[in-house]
Symmetry: C2
Subunit: 339 residues, 2 copies
Amino acid sequence: MADTVRMTLDEVRSLATEVFTANGLSPANAEIVAGVVTAAEADGTHSHGLFRVPGYVSCVTNGRVDGKAEPEVSDAAPGLAAVDAKNGFSPPAIVAGRALAVEKAKAQGIAALGLRNSGNLNALWWDVEQFAAAGLIAIAMSTTRSYVAPWGGNKALFGTDPFAFACPRQGKSPMGFDFATSASARGEIQVAARRGHAIPEGWALDKDGKATTNPKAALEGVQLPFGGHKGNALIIMVELMAAGLTGGAFCFEAEKRAVDHGAADSGPAHAGEVIILIDPAGYHDAFLGRIEGLFDSILAQEGTRIPGDRRYVARARSHEEGIDCPAALYQQIVDMKTG
Amino acid sequence: MADTVRMTLDEVRSLATEVFTANGLSPANAEIVAGVVTAAEADGTHSHGLFRVPGYVSCVTNGRVDGKAEPEVSDAAPGLAAVDAKNGFSPPAIVAGRALAVEKAKAQGIAALGLRNSGNLNALWWDVEQFAAAGLIAIAMSTTRSYVAPWGGNKALFGTDPFAFACPRQGKSPMGFDFATSASARGEIQVAARRGHAIPEGWALDKDGKATTNPKAALEGVQLPFGGHKGNALIIMVELMAAGLTGGAFCFEAEKRAVDHGAADSGPAHAGEVIILIDPAGYHDAFLGRIEGLFDSILAQEGTRIPGDRRYVARARSHEEGIDCPAALYQQIVDMKTG
């Protein structure tokens, strides 16, 4: 048996849809979440692609997330759209609130889409890119499960709380990025543990609160914010904005509520997310033209790149050649088709 | 002669107002900028206090900034207030646009205040704290002069581009922070150079693009983003938001335009800034109560603190005891009273 299985993106989507539908997701939710998985595979971010399918499923089968949830959209204020995800996954909630949020941003110049009671498992790039493709600047912040100690402390309190940004470009795919406000994503430590590699200093403390480069000790301990006190400040901002503002659970609240069913990627329940949307034409018409001057100036220096560009290279190749799924993971997912 | 001069905050304000008025600022602008200087001294951030008075003055006397500018406020969209600072300093422009921006945020739930053609010299904490004191969450981003290389490059392109956040609290002063998205503020390198200290690795490259811990070599070279590629992504976001969105100059454009008159702190001209304002009552009423649970959980861990709290400790002490100004700086400023 080969180590990997080559799949087209259509095959990724079909397989994920079938597995999700067989394991408690409604057809509508299965289609959306399968699209998120496929987009991650296409962009080369395999840690959020098929690798995460068992995690999505276990969330539903262990009852932490409702796979059949029907998100409820409400008009909170002229500039604020709200979605109660009804403890379903966040992508269907974003899809449900998208039209109202875009309409508000285009009418007011700025708006926000707030999600509460959602299960956030995907990389935030998917969340923001779709708004940038609709011509809006998007800034997203989301909570996750509680893995990260506050700066100076040594007990898990914050999530790896991602922050994402996307900006439309004229005649090009959006520019943007997403990253964990912790020093590393949890998945990076898990990968190091599996491969027996050390992790860099500054990523984590062990269970006794001592700095460690041992990934297994790190997984039993706590992760740290990125960039010292600046990253710590950003994590607190993400918690206040993604959970406090929207009415989602803070990471530490979600963790208290959740019984850990042993599924490492089973995600938070009742979490929150906020997406701020700005119409760049609101202030003046020259935005799209002017920003190309900034991008040109960056690329004029050797060794630089525009955030997001590596995704688009991977995406073009994936559409052409398909993607490679580790054979064991492929078999694990195929076996889930029967629910 | 003593090394320092003890001053009350009223004396700081009076001296700064008098010096600014004698050196080309209108009375209205002098009062506002002197208030910013006094607030920085009160909070213990002396690098943005009296230390910066000569820089404010030289900006005006060398013609880079118009000290008598009368900012022009416009209503760009239901959620967007715009201020053309008319190449004056940013604080008078913020004061000019504040009422309209607050009104919009409270009516729409979210709004933005965009500044263009402004000279941004102050720490952004002042910019956001006043909105949090008015009950709004505030996120600010601003450009500065061009000192920072893009990640992977070695030529100055970005500013030290600060990012700030402030959040109201019930019965307490706002929580918040501001920081340069470069690894250090420029002033920290200048201080190290004066004292003959080395700077940490990762802060700067020398003029040949090689990593350096020599502060003088760093000042001749370029600064680096904080937190590696994540900080680099944030700097690009700040440039796009603070300059691209508002119509202010990107740092590299401002630098091209500016003739350097040798005043290290003379600041950027025609710069931009954006302040996003959110009414936390927009989504639900429990915000102010719920966030105290987060702050309590942070402080329950030994060694932690809430961003901004050290400022308030310093502020209380300064109101009580006054502040100490280095004698040479005091004399330099007093000598400027005659213009």
